[in-house]
Every structure is written in C-alpha cells, then in structure tokens.
Symmetry: C2
Subunit: 165 residues, 2 copies
C-alpha cells in the first residue's frame, strides 16, 4: 500500500502527512506554521451497524461516536477525516472531549496521556464527493488502546498543489 | 520550547522531523524516498548511574541499555540519537531486538505492537561535538509504556542545508 505514496505526482508535504504514524494535526502545524482549525461537519452518537461493529470489533447496537471533520490551516482544507469511536472503551474524560468536538484526536489522546498504537489498514487513491473532481489519497487506520480498537479513522487528502507549502 | 522550531533559519523538513510525535525514521524515509540506515556507534549494557536512574525513574545499579546511533539516508547523516532503555521494563523480545542494534526504535515498537506515548521534555539549540561547528537542534523525550518510562531519547539534528530535500 505504500506504493501509493511513491507516485511522482504526490507532493512531498502530502506524502509525509499521508504516511506518518504520528499526529496529522501536529505535522500540519509544523508545515504551515499556523494553528490547525478543526471544523466539525457532523458529530453524533449512533448504534453500531454491523459494518461499524466489524470495523471496531464491538457488538452491533453498541454506542459509537461518529464524527466527520475537516482540518484546515490558513483557510485551506487539507484533510477530511471520518472517525468512529467505540464509546464503551473510552475513559470518561476522553469521551467528553471527543463529543465536545473541534478538538483534534491527536491532541485528545496526548492530553489524556493515553498509550496507543496506530495500525494502518490501507491506503489508496480514490474520488471523494467532498473534494469533487480531485483524486484523493484515502487511508484507513485503527487506534489501539489496551489491546482493543478505540477508533477507526479514514482520512482523505486531496491531491493538488495546495501541498506546495 | 516549540519556539526553537519557529526560527526562520530552520528548514521545513528539519522543523517537521524535530517536531513530530511519530517515528523519525519513517518521516525521513517519506522525505528522502530512500531506506534509512541505522549505524550503531556504541551499544552496551551498563549499570544505571544516579543521573540515568533519574532520567528513567529506576534504581541506581539497574541494567540500562545505552545506544548511540546515526540515522542516514542516501549517504547523509540526518540525526544522531542517544538512547537509554530500562531493561527490566522491556518485554524479552523487544530487548533482543534493541540489543541486536541497527533496527530503528520506532520499528521495534511497531513490530512488537507496543502501545506507547511520547513525552517531549525539551528542545534547544546547542553545539554537539559530533557535528563540529554546526549548531544542532537537540530534543529529549521519553517513551512511556504501561505508565513507566521505557526509554529516554536524545536526538540531535544538525542545522544546515542538508534538509533542503
């Protein structure tokens, strides 16, 4: 799946954001020198469908926090991020922050001192309705905490010259 | 401490490597498009001095794996990294990999699926004997696992035009 990042039309800044195992928000802040703004397009608690239950390895019907946000800096949107979080596996304080929205997930995990790992599941180039005609790099990964899946995240990065930062 | 990274003479690629909370080796590979080579300059097991014990929050005399490596890509050295690891806190398999040397720490943690967090302690611009006359960004951080300090790491990044990648 890493071959996606080797394509010559992928700008360097996009390659490192889509490839890192660290916080995207932090990287975007380091790249742009600006604060990253999280805009929540949708945030709700839903009962897990069978698809969601499979992604999170929970039971269908369990509570899931579903969130759709954009990350932007200096007025430019760099990432569209969809996340599903298994509510029952989250410490209460983390839960509250996640639902308060507009706080980047990396910062939430850092502030609550959670020990985690990130398992990247796949990376591909697709079209996404949100970015219209632009191709996007879409990657899926899981954040693991105490050997359980805490969150499933899908990030879409538009491929164009906005990454010539 | 983040102000160090805002200095105008810090190249962007250096800023993101010195600022990331993810794996430096992975970032260097994404930036250069080359495999990163770890060269071990020194690796030994020592009894903790009182300074080491304080850094790792262990007892003086406890076993510590001390390692000094360079990370390079395409023949250029980008990082000098010194690490101290509390041997008693490491799962046996991790211990073996760490002593076999020449494997980047980020990859060791990832392959053994360790859940961790990184706490950055400080970041400053200093001189380092290894890089001669060049100023370097020096940062110290701890890798935390199961609420204990697994490793203390000091990375030095030379400030010059090698980062115009």
């Amino acid at each position: 799946m890493w071959d996606v990042l080797k394509r010559p039309d992928i700008p360097t800044c996009l390659r490192i954001c889509a490839g890192t195992d660290g916080s995207i928000t932090l990287l975007l802040e380091l790249l742009t020198g600006k604060a990253v703004k999280v805009v929540t397009l949708d945030q709700r608690v839903v009962k897990a469908t069978s698809d969601m239950a499979e992604l999170l390895e929970i039971e269908p019907g369990d509570d899931v926090n579903s969130r759709l946000v954009t990350l932007s800096a200096n007025g430019t949107v760099y990432v569209l991020a969809k996340s599903l979080a298994a509510i029952k596996r989250m410490p209460q304080a983390v839960r509250d922050d996640l639902m308060r929205a507009d706080i980047p997930i990396g910062r939430i995990l850092r502030e609550h001192k959670l020990e985690t790992r990130r398992d990247i599941l796949n990376m591909q180039i697709i079209r996404s309705e949100f970015f219209g005609e632009l191709p996007v790099i879409s990657r899926e990964y899981r954040i693991i905490h105490q050997n359980n899946i805490l969150m499933w995240i899908n990030e879409c990065f538009p491929i164009d010259d906005r990454w010539n930062i």
